[in-house]
Structure formats: structure tokens, C-alpha cells
């Protein structure tokens, strides 16, 4: 009987022996390089000589705004926080406009969308691809239950996602190091929370935290794509539908945001950063724990449907 670890090795072989996979990695590294380059270019363009003077001037402008106009509470708060943050920069002699390696790594978190996209393509191909190649028959006629084969496929898909995340992170680290110097690694990450208290935390931890929220989205989309892969017998259909759902989801939920039932859909819940400071969720009654519950329900449903589709159907093609 096959052991799960051997099945995962098989699936890994089928992922990493394909030229397509390495094109994806190249594409991702290219995207990180491009983004870092643009950030560097923007920085050099906006360089205005004396940053201390300009910060001081900004603060004066904002202070008068806060006192004079009759703005609402939220806006006043955020302005006051920005003044506090600027004061802190001035007192610590840190130029906030000067990019550090940490800024590059944190920005690369936005490329997790690309990592998700690439992993969704691989996930959608995982089961449907075997049907397209005709190899499903030889794959299933062996001493491994379908459940075990599917688990092996799912785990190696997740491992692939992790691999791309690490590539993305390391590429951003390298790009940041080259463009801003590696000494910035020890610089703290400065942030201010809603109640106006300034935090200094490790740059590395802040970056990983930023990655973390996006990884939940990644996990949900990849699991959905995996389910779609089990439903279709053609990999191009599976890839097309997975990408379609992923790309259309947000637009769809924005259009439907007037209806209260929209909160039970997957897409409005998938981005947990909507509950972070300064953001508002799609529906006012939505909370973080509600979204986590919804995501958990969807996750279990995806897995269950994928399992039923893969283990119960006859392979007659």
C-alpha cells in the first residue's frame, strides 16, 4: 500500500518537472523586481532635499486644519495621529520617505495576489489535468485509495503555494537589500494605532503579519480551485472557472453589497484586512469572527464537495 509521503513526492515531481512551473517562478521574481524598481524610481523622483523641513511644514498645515475646519471625528483623529507620527519621526531622526528594506518586503505582500493566481492555476490543474492527460486511470489503479491520492495532491498544492510565498519574500528581501541596503533589516517598523499610541516592532514580524492575512485568502481560493479541479474533467475548463470566480468575486460582491445576504457569500469575507484599523467591512453588521466562521464553513464545504466528486464518480472516459 502506498504511503502518503511517497504520493506527495510523486505529485511534487509532477509539479516541479514541468517547465510551466519554473516560468511561473520566473514571472513572480520578475514582478517583485519590477515593483521594487518602480518604488525606488518614485522615491528618487520625490526626493525634495530637506525632509525635516517638509515634515514640519506638513505638521503645521495639518494642525491648522484640525483646529479650523469642522471636520468629523474620524478624519480629525487620523490627522492627529499623522501629526504624532511625524513628530516621532522628527524626534528619532528617521526619514519616513526613505525606503528601507522593510518597506520593500511589506509591499511585496500585495504580490500575494499574484502568488494566489499562480497557485490557483496549479491547483485547478491538479486533478483535472490527470483526466486531460488520460493518466487518471493508471493513477487510480494502484494500491492507493482515492482519498489518499487526493490528500497527497492537496498537500503538495499547499506546499507549492508556500514555495511561491517564500520565493516572493526572498526576492523582495533581495531587491530591498540591493536597493536600500541590508542594514535596514534591524530598523524598527513604526506604526500608530487607533488610540494614538506609537508602536515600534520588528520589521520582519510586521512583514510576516502582513503576509499572514493574505495567506488566508490564498488558502481559500486555492481550496476552491482544487474543488473545481475535481468537478471538471478538462484542465482548461477548471483553470478558466477558478480564475473567473477569483477575479469576478470582488466585483460581484461590491455590486450586491446593498443586499444583506451578500455577507453569506465567500468573497466579501475573504479579505480579513477589512477589519483592520481605518477600513470598513462591506456590510456594517459584519464582524471579524463572523467572517472567520463563514470562511471555515466554506473551507469544509469545498473539501467535502471535492472529496465526494473525486472518490464517488466512475472513471469511464
Amino acid at each position: 500500500m502506498s504511503s502518503l509521503s511517497q504520493l506527495i513526492r510523486n505529485e511534487n515531481m509532477k509539479i516541479y518537472r514541468r517547465p510551466r512551473t519554473w516560468l511561473m517562478v520566473l514571472f513572480l521574481v520578475g514582478a517583485v523586481a519590477l515593483m521594487s524598481g518602480i518604488m525606488k524610481y518614485d522615491e528618487s523622483r520625490t526626493d525634495s532635499g530637506d525632509w525635516k523641513a517638509s515634515l514640519t511644514q506638513q505638521n503645521q498645515q495639518m494642525s491648522s486644519d484640525v483646529q479650523n475646519s469642522s471636520m468629523d471625528e474620524d478624519r480629525r483623529n487620523s490627522l492627529e495621529n499623522r501629526i504624532k507620527l511625524n513628530d516621532y519621526y522628527l524626534s528619532q531622526n528617521i526619514n519616513p520617505d526613505e525606503l528601507t528594506i522593510g518597506d520593500y518586503v511589506k509591499s511585496s505582500a500585495s504580490l500575494i495576489l499574484l502568488v494566489t493566481l499562480l497557485t490557483v492555476v496549479v491547483a485547478a490543474d491538479m486533478i483535472a489535468g490527470e483526466f486531460t492527460w488520460g493518466t487518471i486511470k493508471l493513477l487510480l489503479v494502484g494500491p492507493a485509495s482515492r482519498t489518499k491520492i487526493m490528500l497527497g495532491k492537496y498537500l503538495s498544492t499547499l506546499a507549492f503555494a508556500l514555495f511561491l510565498l517564500v520565493v516572493c519574500f526572498l526576492a523582495a528581501l533581495a531587491a530591498g537589500g540591493i536597493l536600500a541596503g541590508f542594514d535596514g533589516l534591524s530598523a524598527p517598523d513604526i506604526s500608530i494605532n487607533a488610540s494614538g499610541i506609537i508602536h515600534e516592532s520588528s520589521m520582519l514580524i510586521a512583514s510576516i503579519e502582513k503576509y499572514g492575512y493574505n495567506v488566508i485568502m490564498l488558502l481559500m481560493y486555492v481550496t476552491m480551485a482544487f474543488m473545481i479541479s475535481a468537478a471538471f474533467r478538462s484542465s482548461s475548463m477548471a483553470i478558466a472557472f477558478s480564475l473567473l470566480f477569483m477575479l469576478v468575486g470582488n466585483t460581484l460582491s461590491a455590486i450586491l453589497s446593498g443586499y444583506s445576504w451578500v455577507k453569506y457569500l465567500l468573497f466579501p469575507n475573504i479579505d480579513l484586512t477589512q477589519y483592520m484599523d481605518g477600513n470598513t467591512p462591506l456590510r456594517p453588521e459584519m464582524t471579524m469572527s463572523f467572517s472567520i466562521l463563514m470562511l471555515a464553513i466554506y473551507y469544509v464545504a469545498f473539501q467535502l464537495i471535492a472529496w465526494l466528486l473525486f472518490t464517488r464518480r466512475d472513471v469511464a472516459a
Binding site: M1, S2, Q6, L7, R9, N10, M13, K14, R17, R18, P19, W133, G134, T135, K137, L138, L140, V141, G142, P143, A144, S145, K148, R312, D314, V315, A316
Partner: protein
């Protein structure tokens, strides 16, 4: 009889109201090459897919070395090597990587064993090339290699010669016979080509419309071939009357300008003597062996697709 490696017990597949496979029961003992013959659409492939668990059974039981495929799929499959229709391989992998892929599923398939099988099938020169560059014959051989890596007790081949050239068919046939004889592997091979089955198999099951029509041993079929005698004579009616006295009247039938007598050739001298004595002109007498093909056509009611 030795212990059966493969046992089917009233295996049935129903889709809607249509019984695609109906109540199949047969055994394949160790070391036998068992043919599965039937016209296209008779349910051969469906049966084979039920044996290897690709398709669920509506009813019945399949046991491989006594292990139920339904209840202990993984254990049962350790004894099976299979090629279900054309062996599709991972084209972006090399032949060797494909074999490693299938070897990993079994315990105890060593590198040496892979090399041994590669050599056995004569693939060693191109085994490290990508499969997309293989010819169909080579893919077929790689498929066989994949199926025998783990030394199965039962080899299942579904239409293995589809798309092979005559040399490839012959090679595969010799190879299968060898496996059965020397390693005691049972082979279940399906085909719609009688000639193939005839050369490869010890016993044949004939199925039609999902039903088992007959199981016969090829040995028997060959020795018990019925022969008939064709007679051409000047006065066919007189000859017929005369011969109806000599034989059972049901044995004698007119076939165009010929008389057909169901008997073997030992009676030819007798027939000749009688006819000449009655002064009937004999234009020709010859014995005709009823071919296996005719026998099978008879069994399947003439619907054999050859």
C-alpha cells in the same frame, strides 16, 4: 484446479435501467492467460474497470487473491498490474521518471528492479528521454513495464494491441505468454479481435450485451473443431437421397450447387465408393475445417465485429 487469482461473482453494472454488465461470474486461475472476447460495446471495458475499481459495481463481488476489491481496495490492488486502454503516461516526464512515479506507490520496488524491467522490455536506450518523443509502441512497452514493476499476481490488459503494428502485437503476445508461463502470472486480456485472443490465450470468455455467452478453453476449441465435407456432383438430388440413407438426414444439407455433410474426412472414401457404385458423377469432394471464427460467430449469433 489451482487457486483462483481473480474471482468474479455475479458482477453487475446498471446505469438507469440498462444493464451494461449483467451477472458475470468467472474465475481466472494462477498462470492462465484468460481472454475476454466480445464485440465493441459488449461491456468488456466496463467489466475491467469494475475489476480495478475505476467504476463502481451495482451488484456483485470481485476478489483478487481472495481480497475483495470493494472492501480492501488498497490491499487488493497490490496484486494487480494494469493497462486500461492506451497507456497514457506523463509526457513531460522521461520514461524513467514515469516508472519511478509508479514504483513509488508500491513497497519494495528497488532501483535494480526498475533497471531490470527496463532491460526486459528493451527500453534501456531511450528510457531517459521524455515520453512525448516515444512512439506508440514504446509507450505500450512502457505501459507494460509500469504494470509489472511490482511483480503482480494478476496482469490486466484492456485492448492492449490497439494501435500497435503487427511486429509490436507479436512482441507483446510473446511477452505475455512468457510472463504467464515462467512467472506464474495470471493475465486477463480483453480484445475484440479473435485472431489475437486465439494466439494469446488459454481460455476465453465470450461476452455479448453484458452477458457471459460461453467460456471455452482454446485447446478444446482447436481439437474439437468440427469439420464438414463439401460435395459437388452431377446429379445433386440423387446424391442427396443416397447419402441420406448413409448418414443421418440432418447431417446432409444442400448449399447451392454443393452438398454439405457434417462429418470428418474419414468418411470421404466411403462416400466416393457409394456414389460411384450408384453411377453418380463426382466432380469434387473435399473436407473443410470449420474455423474458430465461424464457431465464435455462431456462438455470438453472427454479431462479432472483427
Amino acid at each position: 484446479m489451482t487457486e483462483a487469482v481473480l474471482e468474479l461473482r455475479s458482477v453487475t453494472k446498471r446505469i438507469g435501467t440498462c444493464r451494461i454488465v449483467d451477472n458475470l461470474t468467472f474465475d481466472v486461475p494462477a498462470g492462465e492467460v484468460f481472454g475476454f472476447l466480445g464485440p465493441n460495446g459488449a461491456g468488456k471495458t466496463t467489466t475491467i474497470r469494475m475489476i480495478v475499481g475505476l467504476i463502481s459495481m451495482t451488484k456483485g463481488e470481485v476478489r483478487i487473491k481472495g481480497v475483495s476489491v470493494r472492501d480492501q481496495f488498497e490491499l487488493a490492488m497490490t496484486h494487480v498490474g494494469a493497462i486500461v486502454e492506451n497507456p497514457e503516461m506523463y509526457k513531460f516526464l522521461t520514461g524513467y521518471q514515469n516508472l519511478v512515479h509508479f514504483a513509488r506507490r508500491h513497497h519494495g520496488v528497488t532501483k535494480q528492479r526498475i533497471d531490470e524491467v527496463v532491460k526486459l522490455l528493451g527500453l534501456q536506450n531511450r528510457i531517459h528521454e521524455k515520453v512525448k518523443r516515444y512512439s506508440l509502441g514504446m509507450r505500450q512497452r512502457l505501459g507494460v513495464a509500469q504494470a509489472i514493476l511490482h511483480r503482480p499476481s494478476l496482469l490486466i490488459l484492456d485492448e492492449p494491441t490497439n494501435g500497435l503494428d503487427p511486429a509490436g502485437i507479436r512482441e507483446l503476445r510473446d511477452y505475455l505468454r512468457n510472463l504467464a508461463r515462467e512467472e506464474g502470472i495470471s493475465v486477463l486480456v480483453s480484445s475484440h479481435l479473435l485472431s489475437e485472443i486465439e494466439l494469446m490465450c488459454d481460455r476465453v470468455a465470450i461476452i455479448q450485451s453484458g452477458k457471459l455467452v460461453d467460456i471455452r478453453s482454446m485447446e478444446e476449441a482447436r481439437t474439437q473443431t468440427q469439420s464438414k465435407i463439401l460435395l459437388e456432383a452431377g446429379d445433386i438430388d440423387a446424391a442427396r437421397q443416397l447419402l441420406s440413407q448413409l448418414f443421418d438426414p440432418s447431417q446432409v444439407a444442400a448449399a447451392g450447387s454443393y452438398l454439405e455433410i457434417a462429418a470428418d474426412k474419414s468418411v470421404i472414401p466411403n462416400i466416393a465408393r457409394v456414389l460411384i457404385a450408384a453411377d453418380i458423377e463426382v466432380l469434387g469432394i473435399h473436407a473443410v475445417q470449420k474455423s474458430l471464427e465461424e464457431q465464435f460467430l455462431e456462438i455470438t449469433g453472427g454479431e462479432m465485429v472483427v
